[in-house]
Symmetry: C2
Subunit: 216 residues, 2 copies
């Protein structure tokens, strides 16, 4: 449904998803100068069950002190480590339309050590245009450019019709994981991990929930 799993063994995907939430939360705590936090506090402030939090962490080792809790800075560092965002992670964005542009300008990415190293489009009108700190490059040069920047993450923001082709190109260029915004299911080799983001899907689920109360 979402990821071509494979990869590491026993860690549930939902756990990984929550790790990112924890990280974000810990960064906020740091900003608020909180030094230590217990799983109970996490539950109070995020709504995530305390046992869940502890179990999620337990997949990766021991992080807390009984009777005390977790050191905010240390936990933050260790989660970043687990997620491999403890150092700058280069990313390529393919498709510089509205969405691609929004991503390029999104400050949260840098905060979390993601770095958009290159952006591509196939529209001659866009190629060469400056966009944030970048210049839009020709989609045809993905492979060549990536030999330089070594991005292993690609974000695909092109229309559905072009997405498969673009994904193939990215994979040839050495990309290992793909965040796909196009509303199609990409066919990729086993070893490649894909995650799909679909606004439409999210909206559809929400729309469904409008049901209940209309006739109540």
């Amino acid at each position: 449904m979402n990821s071509n799993s494979s990869s590491s063994p026993k860690v549930p995907i939902p756990t990984l998803e929550r790790l990112a939430t924890y990280l974000r939360f810990l960064i906020d705590l740091e900003a608020a100068q909180v030094e230590t936090i217990s799983s109970t506090d996490v539950e109070k402030q995020t709504g995530i069950n305390a046992a869940q939090f502890r179990k999620d962490l337990s997949y990766f080792g021991e992080f807390g002190k009984p009777g005390v809790g977790y050191n905010v800075l240390e936990l933050q560092a260790r989660i970043a480590r687990i997620l491999k965002i403890d150092q700058l992670q280069p990313i390529m964005v393919i498709g510089a339309g509205n969405l691609g542009s929004a991503l390029i300008g999104y400050p949260g990415l840098t905060e979390h050590k993601f770095h958009i190293a290159a952006a591509f489009d196939r529209d001659p009108a866009k190629i060469g245009r400056p966009q944030g700190d970048l210049v839009i490059l020709n989609e045809a040069d993905v492979r060549e450019v990536n030999a330089e920047i070594g991005a292993r993450i690609a974000i695909i923001c092109v229309p559905a019709a072009a997405a498969q082709e673009v994904a193939d190109t990215a994979i040839l260029a050495g990309v290992r994981v793909i965040l796909n915004f196009a509303p199609i299911i990409l066919k990729v080799p086993e070893r490649i991990v894909v995650r799909n983001v679909s606004f439409l899907q999210e909206l559809a689920v929400l729309s469904y929930h409008l049901s209940g109360e209309s006739q109540k």
Copy 2:
């Protein structure tokens, strides 16, 4: 983690998520002039398990003919009906930054009968600015404007610091479900359904999967 469930009884959330995928797929099939499809074909073309597809549909009734399969047009219509997107669904967007603008300009929304009826921001420099077919309105007027347009879906695209406040306002204005792009966990009443979209979370999961072969 994602939705404040409540609402209707026995339908699994993952099933709802897939329904939107099926709908998309069926629209593509229609374009390709396919009239009938079997669950096996669905599995071949989307990677979603055939039994899964059948079970998902079974929550809502019977849709197919044994020995034959499903009528593409009919199934399409019925799924749209289930998701309540068989007629135009008004939506409000709060926050007209890069992301909000991208959504306003996203053609896929209209295709699926979602209609952005109003967009708001609190930045005086943005208020009054035309954006696509809309003019950005003052965030302070959310309630008043929604008395007119009657949106029950809100999309929140403001920075984390403003998101909770904006959500409260939207709820007061009659919104029932929220698509939240801000990286915080919103506190909302039981009856309100929230879904969170986080690029960072998605990227983090992908980044994690880069593990194995980096030393190749």
